[in-house]
């Protein structure tokens, strides 16, 4: 199988090393190698590799570049918060640490091209240089010209350079509407079950045999493959549950080959893991502690989402309730809810056509500060002076992200807010202050 990778211009031994490190990606590596050609040959200007998360895009590129010792610059687009960082990293890895200092303070694309050409004339490329850009989909958010320029960088700088873009999305979503140079597209398909098995089995624990670990992975995939095909998540799960799997072995009850008994032992734990760990509710460290503990104690350790209770000052609670009412009730109905002598207004009378759908389905609506305060003063049971602390509580609710400010920060006059909490949350809050919020909600009338 490893003999597959053969390519003129590269060392046989190295290619062998590459093949060993890239299980189940031989076809793609072969393809890439033939695209790249021999080191001194000009390569295609730009290649886009796309495929789902954890399908080995970065890994393949990384191994190829490292093992074959090709001149390259790997840039993560998340990291490049400004174009300057991108340029600097490329220049740094191609021409050494002096090159970036030639760039002006906030460089433009043409500055980069100029510096590149200048450096390139001093040290021309003997073999193809590669710029690998991870998470290339973020390039769409930057200046529109950057992507098109990168795609034909070879032409711009007149050097043997190839840009390889790695992305999770297909090229169709990239293409700028002005049109641009079309890169070569290369798709990395998802790993199949047997491939996952093969890859995961490589992380074998040093004190156990490969066959044993492989059997463990087989069991694990049997449980999780139907819900999760992400290699990273599966590797995480494998690491978590392995110690539990080995437990009967350590106690000397079972032999390594007795897969059935091991399966019986581990199955309930994997089922439990399916409920909790997939969401990373508890950290892996805590999970291990939990497994070491006895069953009855384990209940004490609760996941992240179990803690939803928030303790708030008294008036903050009422402000939040008022905000919720303002967000989910139409403004016209305020009279019905908060006026003592509102007369008899039935729901059918003021039901407009578009309001027939539940307001809770539509989500919170923005409301002005005045309305919030008016509702607040009518729901709070005691007389409250409009002090500065009431107002500051509103802004601290915004910082806590329980309210969201809709209008711009600069707008001091009549700011608008939205309530950002769920019905369950607000019900819990109003229960603590003995306020029956459901009675005041238009949807539940």
């Amino acid at each position: 199988m490893t003999a597959l990778l053969q390519h003129p211009g590269y060392d046989e031994e190295r290619l062998k090393g590459v093949a060993e490190k890239l299980p189940c990606r031989e076809v793609q590596a072969e393809m890439l190698l033939s695209l790249m050609g021999q080191p001194h040959q000009y390569s295609y200007p730009s290649i886009l590799i796309y495929g789902h998360r954890a399908s080995g895009k970065s890994h393949v590129m990384h191994v190829l570049m490292k093992e074959l010792e090709l001149p390259h610059a790997t840039v993560s687009c998340v990291e490049c918060v400004s174009i300057a960082l991108l340029f600097e990293q490329v220049l740094l890895s191609f021409f050494g640490c002096d090159a970036p200092s030639l760039l002006p303070r906030s460089p433009s694309l043409s500055d980069f091209v100029r510096v590149y050409r200048q450096q390139c004339s001093q040290s021309p490329a003997k073999q193809t240089r590669y710029i690998v850009m991870e998470k290339a989909e973020l390039l769409r958010d930057t200046d529109a010209s950057l992507l098109s320029a990168l795609l034909r960088l070879q032409e711009l700088v007149g050097d043997n350079v190839t840009v390889i873009l790695l992305s999770e999305i297909a090229w169709d979503k990239f293409r700028p509407n002005t049109g641009c140079f079309e890169p070569l597209l290369l798709h990395f398909p998802d790993y199949s079950k047997s491939e996952l098995q093969q890859i995961l089995s490589q992380n074998v624990h040093s004190s156990y045999s490969a066959g044993f670990y492989s059997a463990y992975i087989n069991i694990l995939l049997g449980v999780f493959y139907s819900v999760c095909r992400d290699l990273r998540e599966l590797r995480h799960l494998a690491a978590l549950n392995f110690s539990k799997f080995c437990e009967p072995l350590a106690e000397g009850k079972v032999k390594e080959t007795d897969t059935h008994k091991l399966w019986k032992h581990i199955e309930p734990h994997l089922k439990k893991a399916m409920q909790t760990v997939y969401l990373r509710e508890v950290s892996s460290l805590q999970w291990e502690q939990m497994q070491q503990m006895e069953e009855e104690e384990a209940g004490a350790l609760r996941g992240l989402s179990a803690h939803t209770h928030v303790e708030l000052p008294y008036y903050s609670k009422f402000l939040l309730i008022a905000a919720y009412l303002a967000s989910y009730n139409p403004a016209r109905t305020d009279k019905r809810f908060f006026l003592k002598h509102h007369g008899k207004i039935r729901k059918t009378n003021f039901l407009k056509k578009n309001e027939k759908t539940s307001n809770h389905l539509l989500g919170p609506k923005p409301f002005p500060l005045d309305r919030l305060l008016a509702i607040f003063y009518s729901v709070v049971d005691s007389r409250v002076a409009p002090t500065a602390s009431i107002f500051s509580q509103i802004s601290s609710l915004v910082t806590l992200q329980l309210l969201a400010q809709v209008s711009h920060d600069d707008q001091l006059d009549a700011p608008k807010y939205k309530c950002a909490v769920s019905l369950d949350f607000i019900c819990a809050i109003s229960r603590t202050v003995n306020f029956d919020i459901v009675k005041y909600l238009y949807d539940f009338l």
């Binding site: 990291e79 590797r235 460290l285 000052p313 409009p386 992200q401 329980l402």
Partner: protein
């Protein structure tokens, strides 16, 4: 320098200038004591959580360095501590300060704190840039490699590698001078996010993604400060990001517990001479419970009360340690002695004395001084007895259903005790004994002896009853229901020995409480130690901007103190500032105000103020200056939010407030 500066501020406008210096000193001393006490207290309260956090960071860096299979598999995760702090954001600063100090001391020199507001800026990219720079800028003092190179984690990694290399060499050179350094060849880089909720989720996600790429080279550890609930992490970070973290949860003490401890240790003790009376206390606790949950603000309120007390009450020279107070009594000046005679509590005391004594006290200064010394001693004794008994009462009542007794409850209703089973009663009394043992005063010791005696008798009784019940019913434990049955059946009958003893115990406690828990207002000279002006505290802590603006506009004399502005009820004098006149006039209008009418009315008022003859030729004509003044007043009102321009009618403005004439 600053000390003298503040002192001169204090002396300015002080009631009694002579003693102000001493009072300032006393105030300063007390405040220093309160401050250090609270700091110590806070450190103690936070110790547990901080220690566990330190353990966490240490453990993380050690697991990273050892190479067993499990930690290798987990190597790509960034260890993260989610620190739940509650919504009292002002208090968090102190916690984070001590956390980062402790981390720097014992775990790693590389600790950075980041705050969301530092990472503000236009556009996501800009914000992330600031966030990336912040670890460099704030803590590591990383020298930039090249002037033009931007901050990035790559550079930070290089710096870190160089730094640890140097560190390793020097420690070897020093022949393993410190054990700690040796263990920690690679101290973790800790980044503290002080307020997770306030961060822009996108920025945070990007930052975590970037960090995870360097985790193999840079041992990062995150600490998230969370104010609301841990589920915010899940709201902010998608699975692809949160799977890069290995989150562990740490719950800090709730703020109400925190406050309870502070009150317990600072206010309900006799160590600190300065006291708050019930109303002020209510204001402070009200601010806490209703508005902010912030212990720091509570202590600020306490400081305000302290300062106000020493500033406004000349007799506060006596509010200090007993010895010093007794000395200060001898130094009292004549006016101050007169002030003592004016004190309501002292007057009440004098009225109870005999006629001759009354005259003596009113005329003879030296006699008064002697009496004051006695009274001060009594007051201190009262405090010494008051707090232990209060605590006893609290322990006795806190376990009773629906019977929460605060500080205000001073009369013990004996009824609920009838419900208590003996076992509970004995254990409660035992707790009281423990409390009383802490106190040193004579009376308390006396009470302690009596209480112990009672307890001994209870135990004695226990044995007797046990043997008797054993005979009758074949072994039994007294529980609440059987006791109640017994109560029912024997109401008319002879009381059992247990009931007798219980009544005795109740009587004893009742007496104790009645004699020692009299309200502080009943003590003569209580004004010296108690600060009672709750209105001042409320005014200062609970600012009401709207009310003060309205007060300023409708009654300018309140702030300007100019006699010409003085006016009878509700009306504004003609000489008032323009804006006041315009405000007053606008109150008379409806929802829409015609600007021209308003201007006419305004100019009439101003002309009258200038003393022009209403019948003269030029009267009623508006000159340019007045016009300009009017426009300025109107735009000021608009700025204050009383009116706004409207499109309904041209040359009209709309009123935004209701009410008026």
């Amino acid at each position: 320098m600053s000390f003298f500066a503040t002192e001169s501020y204090f002396v300015q406008g002080c009631e009694d200038a002579e003693s102000s210096e001493t009072r300032f000193r006393l105030c300063q001393e007390l405040w220093d004591k309160i401050k250090t006490d609270t700091e110590v207290l806070q450190d103690e309260l936070n110790r547990k959580i901080l220690d566990s956090l330190l353990d966490f960071t240490r453990k993380c860096s050690s697991t990273r360095q050892n190479s067993d299979w499990a930690s290798q598999m987990r190597a790509s995760e960034i260890p993260t501590a989610a620190l739940m702090l509650g919504v009292n954001i002002p208090d968090h600063d102190m916690t984070f300060q001590s956390l980062s100090d402790m981390l720097k001391q014992s775990v790693s020199p590389h600790v950075a704190s980041v705050q969301a507001k530092e990472c503000g800026g236009k556009g996501l990219r800009h914000q992330s840039e600031i966030l990336l720079c912040s670890p460099h800028r704030l803590c590591f003092k990383c020298p930039r490699v090249h002037r033009s190179v931007h901050c990035s984690l790559g550079i930070l990694c290089d710096w870190y590698a160089a730094r640890t290399k140097v560190g390793a060499q020097t420690t070897v050179g020093k022949k393993r001078s410190s054990q700690v350094r040796d263990e920690q060849q690679q101290p973790p880089v800790v980044i503290i996010f002080k307020d997770l909720e306030a961060f822009n989720p996108r920025v945070l996600q990007d930052f975590i993604l970037i960090c995870s790429q360097y985790i193999d080279r840079l041992p990062l550890t995150f600490i998230f400060g969370i104010a609301t609930s841990p589920s915010t992490i899940q709201h902010m970070l998608p699975h692809s990001v949160s799977s890069l973290l290995c989150i562990e949860l740490f719950q800090s003490l709730s703020c109400t517990q925190h406050l309870a401890t502070v009150i317990d240790k600072l206010i309900l003790t006799s160590h600190i001479a300065f006291k708050l009376n019930g109303k002020v206390m209510q204001v402070l606790i009200g601010v806490f419970l209703y508005h902010d949950f912030s212990v720091r603000n509570f202590i600020k309120g306490l400081q305000l009360a302290l300062l106000e007390h020493f500033h406004s009450q000349p007799l506060s020279v006596l509010c200090c340690k007993k010895k010093k107070a007794l000395f200060n009594v001898t130094q009292l000046s004549k006016p101050n002695l007169d002030r003592i005679r004016q004190l309501p509590s002292f007057k009440r005391y004098v009225e109870k004395q005999e006629a001759q004594e009354q005259v003596n006290l009113m005329t003879d200064d030296s006699h008064l001084k002697e009496l004051c010394q006695q009274l001060i001693k009594d007051l201190h004794k009262y405090h010494k007895n008051y707090y232990p008994i209060l605590r006893c009462l609290h322990t006795l009542t806190s376990s009773l259903p629906r019977y929460p007794l605060g500080k205000q409850a001073r009369v013990l209703t004996c009824f609920p005790f009838r419900m208590l089973a003996k076992g509970e009663l004995v254990s409660l009394l035992q707790k009281c004994v423990e409390i009383l043992q802490l106190s040193k005063s004579k009376k308390m010791k006396n009470a302690l002896v009596q209480l112990e005696e009672l307890l001994a008798r209870f135990k004695q009784l226990d044995k007797e009853i046990a043997s008797r019940w054993y005979n009758r019913e074949g072994g039994g434990v007294l529980n609440q229901t059987t006791l109640l049955e017994m109560n029912e059946s024997r109401r008319a009958k002879r009381l059992s020995p247990f009931e007798n003893l219980r009544n005795e115990a109740l009587k004893f406690i009742d007496n104790l409480v009645k004699s020692h828990l009299s309200p502080p207002e009943s003590q003569p000279l209580y004004e010296v130690c108690y600060y009672s002006s709750s209105a001042t505290v409320r005014r200062h802590l609970n600012a009401t901007p709207r009310t003060s603006i309205q007060a300023a506009l409708s009654n300018p004399y309140h702030y300007l103190q100019n006699d010409s502005l003085k006016s009878e009820d509700g009306t504004v004098s003609n000489a008032a500032p323009d804006i006041c006149i315009a405000y007053k006039l606008h109150l008379e209008c409806g929802r829409l105000i015609n600007l021209y009418d308003w201007l006419e009315a305004y100019s009439t008022v101003v002309l009258a103020a200038e003393g022009n003859d209403p019948d003269s030729e030029h009267f009623g004509k508006v000159d340019e200056v007045k016009h300009a003044r009017f426009i300025r007043a109107v735009s000021e009102l608009e700025f204050l939010g009383f009116i706004k321009s409207t499109k309904q009618k041209t040359d009209h403005v709309a009123r935004l407030t209701w009410g008026g004439c």
